[in-house]
Subunit: 423 residues, 2 copies
């Protein structure tokens, strides 16, 4: 990949971008009790997601994009280049949210991509390569249990059959829900390989704000491990069962939760982050010692070896539970991704673009998983991060990035995409 | 209360008692996955409870009892004495179960009471006082959150209005459910004060078996404290939020669970038993740090002062959570009962009766709550415990007492009731 002749810098319409972000936020909007704010709940392939998909497709079509839907429900809008025989440049992200989400996670990269197209149209910018904007199905993994689903299928890590068979807590499958909401497209799920992919996304962390910049050039995504821990003890009466006779599955779960935190605090496993997000007890009665517990363990690590060591320690710790409290535990793998390094040339092009725009930036590793980690398997890929307020908190209605930060991020995206599309 | 002239000892029909226990167990019967056994799930005022109520009422009527239902759904069957002006002697318990229950908890005292009546009928035993057998609504507290509900209303500790307004997890109230299942009786909920009350119940603990006896004479019920702990942290992204920035409500819950166990193990609070039976996280997603957690804390103590100290320590510990992990906690009182000592004269009469039957027994305090602790507020009360197998485990399908142990317990009940009914 060589540098394209430097083009004069374009700027996107920040107000228009902001208006679309605020409009999409109302689809799946809800009053969040914990924060007193208005949040977004738009789980993948729900009615709310379907409504948002139709709204985004309409915006794509208004921007002159040729829209197609693939068999896993990924949606692409295409703006033809002067040489249609060349691989396209792709930008995008996702529009599904967690149950207590905000207006920016994922949507900034998608609505920003459409804003890039509008800006190219207004400035009559023609490009050599076709440019595409896409959004991927079930990035969050909240509803069907596997995150990056659409991008993992398109990159070939997961099969369409695997994805179709995934079911939500009520037994509805991905295949059924795609048909139900009318996004069971006919484009092949293994998309044509792009020339390059750039995803603009909120940082979801405090590093950019601490450095006093709006922009991060992402060097890669840390390793992510999702496991479910099933614990089996024995139900018994809370009042009459002596402490030393108990096999309390809830206590075992608590001991594991405390240990995961200790592992993070210890430094023994590098910059390990561990989270227990889901936790259920059975039979779930005030006066019955829990017979079983099930919890999810989300581990993140920027170093693959440290992650391997953390997982081994966790397994060894769980093996001590029978001695500690008479409870047996079994770990089930939900998902695992190794550290994904991003393409250094695309990173350099993004840094040069930010420099030319006069925008400060830092290089940073992503703590969160992103569709870009999947697309990186098929083409040169990198990401642009946009700073968030409140320490970059996300997955909560408090998630917020300023119009200026969003506009700066999408300006970098726009100009980098133009350069790539003219290579 | 003075000793009645000694009557010759009667013996109940053990086979008939056992058949009714096994028959009632099928109402609400289910295949328990954790144990591979058949369990009983008969939560109060459900369809299963209604079916069991109708079955027990039919048995009462077949035994010649005059049946009445009161406004909180307590059911009494009455066998007239020769002097109807005297207060009756009452026996009974409950027939509702926990979600993973067995065949004996509560039902032994009710079906045993009916077997006592059948035995009196067969032996043409007339008594001076009327004898009644009763069962009380929602003893377990599993469905509507307040245990001993029917007996607490009849003894006046709780009002009918309070009880009527309690709702289950789906919003169905006690008042609605009583009407729905047809057990909204018209007898006054504050029943006529009995001369004495005896409840026969499985021990639900290992003490009788360890002493090599089938029978326990219960000296009282330990103090019981039920509290709900609500924890408030902040939702945030599992991958991007640095450990030191987190306010993880699930971690706070785990720290509390571990501390409750440490309190029990320490001996600092006497023979404290603590159980966390219910535990829910929000928003309950694999990759979101929990914003809030809610759990129940069930504490038991045979000493009121030690219970007070345990509750004070727990509150103080919860007050340290903001410093420990940035999470605030609030305790909400669900229920609290002080130690209830049983009537020494009724205990002595039970012991004498066991002696006359040639049955060994030990005096013991109850670890579980029972309707008897409520009825003790209005009349002289005591309990007969029957030993259980497997360390007396209960609130699980493994709960089991042998036909011999059950028969011995109900023999003690029968002869003690005859003596009281002739005083």
């Amino acid at each position: 990949m060589t540098e394209a002749p430097s083009a004069s810098q374009v700027r996107v319409n920040r107000d228009r971008l902001w208006r679309t972000l605020m409009e999409l936020k109302e689809i799946g909007g809800y009053a969040d009790e914990a924060t007193g704010l208005r949040g977004v709940r738009r789980l993948s392939l729900t009615d709310e997601d379907a409504q948002a998909r139709r709204r985004v497709v309409a915006w794509m079509e208004e921007a002159g994009l040729q829209v197609r839907v693939d068999r896993i429900g990924n949606v692409y809008g295409s703006r033809a280049g002067s040489d249609p025989s060349l691989p396209c440049v792709l930008m995008g992200s996702h529009i599904d949210t967690v149950a207590t989400g905000g207006a920016f996670d994922g949507t900034l990269g998608v609505l920003g991509g459409i804003e890039v197209i509008r800006t190219l149209n207004e400035h009559n910018v023609a490009t050599r390569r076709t440019i595409e904007v896409g959004f991927f199905t079930e990035e969050e993994g909240v509803r069907f249990g596997t995150d990056m689903l659409g991008s993992a299928v398109t990159s070939g890590r997961l099969t369409l059959g695997y994805a179709f068979a995934l079911a939500d807590d009520h037994g509805a499958t991905v295949a059924e829900e795609l048909v139900r909401i009318g996004f069971d497209g006919d484009a092949h799920e293994r998309r044509p390989v792009p020339y390059a992919y750039i995803e603009c996304h909120i940082e979801q962390g405090p590093i950019l704000a601490a450095a006093g910049v709006d922009i991060g050039i992402v060097t890669g995504v840390q390793s992510i491990s999702w496991q479910r821990l099933d614990l089996r003890g024995e139900a018994a009466h809370a009042g009459t069962t002596p402490i030393e006779h108990r096999a309390d599955a809830g206590l075992a779960a608590a001991i594991v939760i405390v240990e995961v935190r200790r592992m993070c605090d210890s430094g023994d496993f590098g910059r390990l982050r561990g989270t227990i997000g889901k936790f259920a007890l059975q039979p779930s009665q005030t006066n019955v010692i829990p017979a079983s517990a099930s919890l999810t363990i989300d581990l993140r690590n920027p170093d693959d070896d440290a992650m391997t060591a953390a997982e081994a320690h966790l397994q060894a710790f769980i093996d001590t539970l029978p001695d500690r409290c008479g409870v047996t535990g079994t770990l089930h793998r939900m998902a695992k991704t190794a550290v994904v390094p991003f393409d250094v040339d695309v990173q350099k092009l993004l840094g040069d673009t930010a420099d030319d725009l006069g925008l400060g930036y830092v290089a940073t590793m992503s703590g969160a998983g992103h569709d870009a980690q999947e697309i990186a398997a098929i083409c040169p890929t990198a990401m642009v991060f946009v700073a968030g307020e409140h320490g970059g908190i996300s997955h909560t209605p408090r998630e917020y990035s300023t119009p200026t930060a969003c506009g700066n991020g999408i300006d970098v995206l726009a100009n980098a995409i133009i350069r790539l599309a003219n290579q």
